[in-house]
Symmetry: C2
Subunit: 550 residues, 2 copies
Amino acid sequence: MKITVAQLNYHIGNFDGNRDLICSAIRKAKSEGSELIVFSELCVPGYPPLDLLDRLDFIEKCNRTVEEISNECKGIVAIVGSPTVNKNPQGKKLFNSALVLSEGRIIFSANKALLPTYDIFDEYRYFEPGKSFSIFPFKGLKLAVTICEDLWDEQSFDNEFEKKRLYTLSPMEELVKYDPDIIINISASPFSYSKIDSKADIFKAKAAKYDIPVINVNQTGANSELIFDGASMIVSSKGEIIRRLPFFEESVETISSEEISDAVISEGKGSPDHIELIYKALVTGIRDYFAKTNFKSAILGLSGGIDSSLCLCLAAEALGNTNVRALLMPSRYSSEHSVKDAVALAENLGIHYDIINIEKPFRAFEEDLEPLFKGRRPDVTEENIQARIRAVLLMAVSNKSGSILLNTSNKSEAAVGYGTLYGDMAGGLAVLGDVYKTDIYRLADYVNRDREIIPLNTIRKPPSAELRPDQIDTDSLPEYKILDSILYQYIELQKPAERISGEGIDAAAIEKVIRMINSNEYKRYQAPPILRISSKSFGPGRRMPLVAKY
Amino acid sequence: MKITVAQLNYHIGNFDGNRDLICSAIRKAKSEGSELIVFSELCVPGYPPLDLLDRLDFIEKCNRTVEEISNECKGIVAIVGSPTVNKNPQGKKLFNSALVLSEGRIIFSANKALLPTYDIFDEYRYFEPGKSFSIFPFKGLKLAVTICEDLWDEQSFDNEFEKKRLYTLSPMEELVKYDPDIIINISASPFSYSKIDSKADIFKAKAAKYDIPVINVNQTGANSELIFDGASMIVSSKGEIIRRLPFFEESVETISSEEISDAVISEGKGSPDHIELIYKALVTGIRDYFAKTNFKSAILGLSGGIDSSLCLCLAAEALGNTNVRALLMPSRYSSEHSVKDAVALAENLGIHYDIINIEKPFRAFEEDLEPLFKGRRPDVTEENIQARIRAVLLMAVSNKSGSILLNTSNKSEAAVGYGTLYGDMAGGLAVLGDVYKTDIYRLADYVNRDREIIPLNTIRKPPSAELRPDQIDTDSLPEYKILDSILYQYIELQKPAERISGEGIDAAAIEKVIRMINSNEYKRYQAPPILRISSKSFGPGRRMPLVAKY
């Protein structure tokens, strides 16, 4: 029997678009003689639909689309993901379902039993957990149909609680009673650079534990801040990866069930380098944010520093260099090399740029505020005014030209509040907001892997906001290597202060950094959506009380 | 037996502060001869602690604080709310517990069984549901100890799904098997003006259904955007309210069990007027946001319009008129009465104000952008520049003076995106972001109930952003009465377009308004925290995908 894995890029709420994508993959699979095609979790509405699931009209559209897709399933069976109404009078209103479609009908369904409700996931907000388990019998094979987290009951955790298992139930322990031949797992599993191998390990371990092959189908592409890597995989009953679909690309591949059972593995290369994957993830994130919100062009403020330089390269790759423009906005404190480096980069990439010196509005504000501030010394107020003038100029060009302002702040700055609200924190999408400064450098090197695109001077000079004379970042922050190590342990690993350690890290630095993180929740609350590449990004996956004394 | 209800204002993560509050109420109860004192849900860490619950160090501090409180419980028993570690190797790491403390020990505990995971609530993100039920025997009485939602299994819903019950379990059906004498319900139930009566009805119905009195203890005060009304209530076994503690005030009240069982009800007045309660809620919200973040003073932009005028009155009431300052920032498009009305209000309230005309920076920006915009006609770009100049000025004064900028946007504007990001959408706290424009007028009338504080001209003139000549809101929006009705049905009641109806509402208006709501998610994503007074506020309780095509 031939089975097709359809790894596609869905758009939330775009029912016609998703249906067309799905139906076209069904036709391709049929033309290849496939008998079963498997799509990813909640592919019908697009993932994650969030509170659109609270709208009955949205669910009715899901149902209608499922019906349309089922009419395409002539001579082929398809497994799609869609919400379905829980008809029991008690419990949450919906199930997160895998629906098996054939000849215009739903012939089997399975409801997700383990509902991730942590980090960016809120599935128990919408769904009742599935509580019954059965097997889909198909052409002499017994298929165990599972949905994403259903196979993740043995996952490990990034925190200090010594918890063995997050769930009190194991769907596979139930399903294995029916002696299945293949485990199907439809998923919508976002990319995280630190989880590439552990994700594969989940499927390998399940396959080996039960001696049953696993077919995992993930989506690709980005929706808002979440980026999906695809990388769907077929794992042999020995727990070896037989085939892995590409990262960050749509792909529809057909494989025979014989190939799955008789697999001879020439254990190939491991996962690609994580910097290369982060690069691809960010390009995907930019591209899809624009495509799915119907925007074509971007603008950003180019300072000559490494963050905005890297961001410009990513935007140019995602949108095309003619769809990106840069604004250079030097001030009385800008160094000469800043403009020079920025111009060099823009020219390397063939990007249109304009230069506006911010002195004129800066002086206007100084004069207007003089009566109120008389006698007060310049402080962070004046630094912020400069950053906010730049935001006014960028947003003006964005408004006038119908382009989206890209925010270029990095995760290290965002963590310690080293940025100006409504200033350099402005933008429609924060491209680098989940990338630590030390990884910014690695990504810049990756951009320059063949030739010098980002000027070496940009990479080598000490980072500076250039908001007062001779300012450099390390005036107020620890070295980025130390800072990032503390941040990673505190944010991603959720370690308490006394368990944070590493070369060059002392108690004073830890305390200072943690204080900065906690006292800047209010700024991050108003930050733009951040493309997520880590296991713990600022944004909806990290919810902190603003008024906490902690 | 005497029982004390302690309705207090907790601060998230402020363990010493919460302990002191709790211990001082215990001493007061003892001095009144009380044998049992009941506090509210999660009072030890403060509610809602959100992702601080993911930190083991935070949980350890909860445990230590519970121990300290238990040492105060000599000759008196206290019921407090705190997270406790789930020692079962499977399941979520914590329980949301009610702990009964006596003589330095925890002598009984109950774990919350129904975990609200909708709107602003994310409890299944952190907690394993309690699954066993027992009674706390105390001085010959059997107490059924429940936690908030545990009594809400029969609540109704604001949506179109015809769901009878959200949960598959009813804790009281389990507990009633033990024949309890009193139902204790510790809660942390935020204020919503449309739920005042239905909240009371929940307790009245439960009491009457089981013929058992209910003692409900809620917290008061605000944490970030959530405002808790207190209004703890004691309900007789006949389902009548015997006593209701004040709205939005701390209160420690002792009642005898005889008074509860022999209650003669002189069914007093119903709930206070909802406009008065909204007023008090907003004052509470401002006051606590400042107190709990250690700020004293506020600044806002006073336009002479009704929103900023009302906001100024609320801020003056919450913080004291000497802690609030106003900035009047007329432009070439401001009408003469704007400044006059604004000055009149500031003087009525005794508020310090400054006037800065924004012409100078506006011209500087126009000149700087001229080469880029040459030949393009003025449009919304230039309107936004004016709004953003005002934000730069306000934030400059905020930075220099260490005060928080209050945002004065209302919910109707926020819904349809009638506001400028980084302009009038700026601020540390959105005071009116959950108040529809039609309620803004009612609140203004409430402020003026005894004398004209807000100038009548401010209330009577047609609302205008004054960003271009002769602009009024109804140029681009329906009448507010119609707009607000559509918004309420779409946002609060989650009705699909075809079921929205009412006087003066037609299909074209509905379609236009819904399109505006959906296409402005990106703006609201970056809005300040909004004081929540409704059943569905913008912010963490409403999670919409930014890229959705819907």
